[in-house]
């Protein structure tokens, strides 16, 4: 038997013979690695998920024409091109129209399909589905006094007759308005879109970048963040992220410490093996190498299994809480592997350095 074979045998036999103890130690490593992977993965991915949730609040950027001017005719197309799927842009146009009995009411033209996606909090009894249908705010409805039928709006001597498809309730300004499909609105009033509300997804930096791009593209318009939305989002997100970070640190630390405790105990338990090897003439280096290799192997195997389990846990949490998968961060693997191997090595070498000072004979006599 060569030296190398002997070394391998020393490494593998004990783990196979004492399967119970090996499994306990391995379990500790797997649990620690899995929990660390899951929480770290969540921590890195949850911000994107939360940004997505915060977009429910609607637009965070508004592009509006400067006083008395209109936006360029291809503004929406250009905004769409700039966003390239990173958000949704909705064009608006407003006029003060008159009802049949001369009462003023704000009429708005809007892309109804887009607004439905942008402002999910709008409570709408029925969305317009055909031509000449309008969405009427709950307070505007009283002015019309029409019994479910058609009504006529007047603007600059042009009239349009539409039917109310449904009512709209938001608890703010929208309740006093009447919304028409943008193309019908423009055909009626001749007033093109003056405002584009945009919900940009992504982090604060990505939103600022989008604002800069939009400002450059629309030199003649005002591009402004909706401060109320942007600031509150930043604040809530910061606190959530920090809480999650604190939890992650706490969990990773506990897992590492418990792994350390379990492995240390398991090495101390094998002090007889240690003594026998030394009594038979093994050098300090060889003994250390055997124990270190065993610990490192345990740490590596545990890290691999734990990493897979951890990704699965993160996936389940994403599904349950956000109804979307948390994307696995394979870039975390080196960190998890390194941490796991280092903790394992530490938990093997600390007790060994304690044992080194003790004579093999004393250990073997059971004292």
């Amino acid at each position: 038997m060569t030296r190398r074979q002997m070394f391998l045998r020393l490494l593998t036999r004990p783990t196979l013979v004492r399967r119970g103890r090996t499994l306990t130690a391995l379990l500790a490593v797997v649990v620690a690695a899995a929990v660390a992977t899951a929480t770290l993965n969540l921590y890195t991915d949850v911000q994107a998920k939360l940004h997505q949730e915060f977009r429910r609040y609607g637009a965070n950027v508004i592009v509006s024409a400067k006083d008395g001017q209109a936006l360029p005719a291809d503004a929406l197309r250009r905004a769409d091109g700039l966003l390239a799927g990173r958000g949704i842009a909705v064009p608006f146009s407003y006029v003060v129209a008159k009802t049949d009995d001369g009462a003023p009411v704000v009429a708005a033209g809007v892309d109804l399909d887009r607004i439905r996606k942008l402002n999910s909090w709008w409570s709408v009894s029925a969305w317009p589905s055909g031509e000449h249908q309008a969405l009427v705010g709950t307070r505007a409805e009283r002015v019309l006094q029409s019994k479910q039928g058609a009504f006529t709006l007047h603007f600059n001597n042009h009239a349009i007759t539409v039917t109310a498809a449904g009512t709209l309730k938001t608890g703010s300004g929208e309740d006093s308005r009447i919304y028409l499909p943008l193309n019908e609105f423009v055909a009626w009033t001749g007033v093109p879109a003056s405002t584009i509300e945009i919900a940009v997804t992504g982090s604060a930096a990505e939103v600022s970048q989008a604002i800069a791009q939009l400002s450059a593209a629309f030199a003649s318009a005002k591009v402004e963040p909706v401060r109320q939305i942007v600031e509150a989002e930043g604040r809530v997100l910061d606190k959530t992220r920090l809480t999650l970070l604190a939890s992650t640190l706490l969990i990773v630390l506990t897992s590492a410490l418990c792994m350390l405790a379990t492995l240390t105990a398991s090495v101390l338990d094998r002090r007889k093996d240690f003594a026998v090897m030394k009594a038979l003439g093994a050098s300090e280096r060889t003994v250390n190498a055997v124990f270190a290799a065993e610990a490192a192997g345990l740490g590596a195997i545990g890290a691999v299994v734990g990493f897979v389990v951890g990704l699965a846990i993160a996936f389940v949490i994403g599904k349950v809480n956000f109804h979307a998968a948390i994307s696995p961060r394979f870039s975390l693997f080196p960190a998890v592997l390194l941490g796991s191997v280092l903790v394992s090595l530490g938990s093997a070498l600390v007790p060994l350095s304690l044992l080194r000072r003790v004579q093999p004979a004393i250990i073997l006599r059971g004292e």
């Binding site: 119970g20 306990t24 500790a28 649990v31 620690a32 929990v35 929480t39 969540l42 915060f54 429910r56 609040y57 509006s64 407003y94 003060v96 003023p104 009411v105 402002n119 909090w121 709008w122 409570s123 307070r139 002015v143 309730k169 938001t170 608890g171 703010s172 300004g173 006093s176 405002t195 963040p225 909706v226 401060r227 109320q228 600031e231 509150a232 604040r235 809530v236 606190k239 959530t240 920090l242 809480t243 999650l244 604190a246 939890s247 992650t248 706490l250 969990i251 506990t254 897992s255 410490l257 418990c258 405790a261 379990t262 240390t264 105990a265 398991s266 338990d269 949490i317 809480n321 956000f322």
Partner: protein, 417 residues
């Protein structure tokens, strides 16, 4: 004899007991901290969500339609109905007064500032009000935290105003300058930047706006910022169609609708409703964050439980010689098991108490660090955590104890197991 065995075991095997005890303490501490933070995070995030501004709006029931585009109100000031300013403090007298963070009244009027026609909005900045014996402060500094003022906030009931950023740029006005509002000289306290319609308005104390239209004590609209419970199917129901028991339950839940309902009860001729953009979405965001913390807590609990079990299993596995000896001198499986379980229970209780104290400390640290406020730890958590610690420790020990008592004493003592 039994007590002596337990006592001696703790005295002689201090290192092993310390290891197992440390594992339990750590596990319990992390579990306690995580549960405390997870149960309190709803309140904390709810507070942060108030930065989105008011979630309930109150306006006169008989009000006419708003004719408003881009924050510019085109409705004549004489038009429409008003609320009475004297009724407003009663908002703090509703059942859910502690959930009401603040409210701000608004009275927009058209006026001439210098030569220009602008909209002046009267409101509270940080006004001290009283309801019954309760004094409190409220105003836009509380309900509109995203308003930024360069210079100073005006005092309520003064002749100072804020000028919106866009107007200030056009007029080149600076904090401390004088402006003429409808013939009265007033001082510009600060320049307001809100990122909204207010950038083109003049914001003044409520009394200034009331004087301008010559109607004392009127307001057009009140925005209320309240901490609410996420709306569910029950919260959306109409209280009029509920049974009395359901209605009581609905009334006593801090749904945005229930709080709005109670505001309508205390303010005559008012209509209150939720601002859906804020009220609807905060529920979703809140439940997502709570859900996230709950699941992370669950992961932490499982990890701690497994760590405690592993530590206990190792501790007992190491002592199979002792078991062999006890059995060799005639101890039955029952007394051996009882001994180990008693030790485990003692360890769990000790580790549980220490861990709970440490966990509460950790939770407070997290609260102070992140939210700059205390984390409320429910007292009921203490017995629950202790019970769970004992159960987990028992469960972790059970398998190893069963294995330990099954060994043949002779083999174990010869060191061949």
């Amino acid at each position: 004899m039994f007590l002596r065995l337990v006592y001696q075991s703790f005295l002689r095997q201090r290192r092993r007991k310390l290891l197992a005890g440390t594992a339990i303490t750590l596990g319990v501490a992390v579990a306690t901290a995580m549960i405390a933070v997870a149960t309190d995070i709803g309140d904390k995030i709810n507070h942060e969500l108030r930065t989105y501004g008011a979630n309930i709006v109150v306006y006169p029931e008989a009000d006419t339609l708003d004719v408003e585009i881009g924050g510019v109100n085109l409705k004549p000031a004489s038009d429409g109905a008003y609320l009475d300013e004297r009724d407003l403090p009663a908002i703090k007298g509703t059942f859910w007064r502690h959930n009401i963070v603040g409210f701000s009244p608004f009275l927009p009027v058209h006026t001439k500032v210098g030569e220009a026609d602008v909209e002046l909005v009267g409101t509270y900045f940080n006004k001290e009000l009283k309801y019954g014996d309760d004094a409190f402060r409220t105003g836009v500094t509380i309900t509109h935290p995203w308003w930024k003022v360069r210079g100073a906030w005006p005092a309520d009931d003064s002749d100072q105003v804020l000028i919106g950023e866009s107007l200030a740029a056009r007029w080149n006005s600076k904090p401390g300058a004088q402006v003429e509002v409808a013939g009265h000289g007033m001082q510009v306290a600060g320049i307001l930047s809100s990122g909204g319609a207010e950038d083109q308005q003049v914001i003044a104390p409520l009394s200034v706006a009331q004087d301008l239209i010559g109607r004392a004590g009127v307001v057009r609209r009140v925005l209320v910022s309240a901490m609410t419970k996420p709306e569910d199917a029950f919260g959306r129901r109409d209280p009029k169609s509920m049974s009395p028991a359901d209605r009581d339950r609905w009334y006593c839940s801090p749904y945005a609708n229930a709080i709005a309902y109670q505001i309508m009860e205390v303010i005559p001729h008012a209509k209150a409703e939720q601002v859906r953009q804020v009220a609807q979405n905060e529920g979703v965001v809140l439940s997502r964050i709570q859900g996230l913390m709950l699941l992370v807590t669950l992961a932490a609990l499982i990890a701690s439980a497994l760590a405690v079990s592993a530590a206990m299993a190792t501790a007992i596995f190491e002592r199979r010689r002792e078991v062999g000896l006890m059995k060799a001198v005639g101890a039955g499986n029952f007394s051996v098991g009882a001994l180990f379980f008693t030790e485990a229970a003692l360890l769990a209780l000790l580790g549980g108490v220490l861990g709970f104290v440490a966990g509460v400390g950790m939770a407070q640290q997290i609260g102070r660090w992140i939210f700059a406020s205390r984390v409320v730890v429910q007292p009921v958590l203490f017995p629950v955590v202790l019970a769970v610690a004992v159960i987990v420790t028992f469960a972790g020990s059970a398998a190893s104890i069963r294995r330990a008592v099954q060994f043949d004493p002779a083999i174990v003592l010869r060191g061949e197991a």
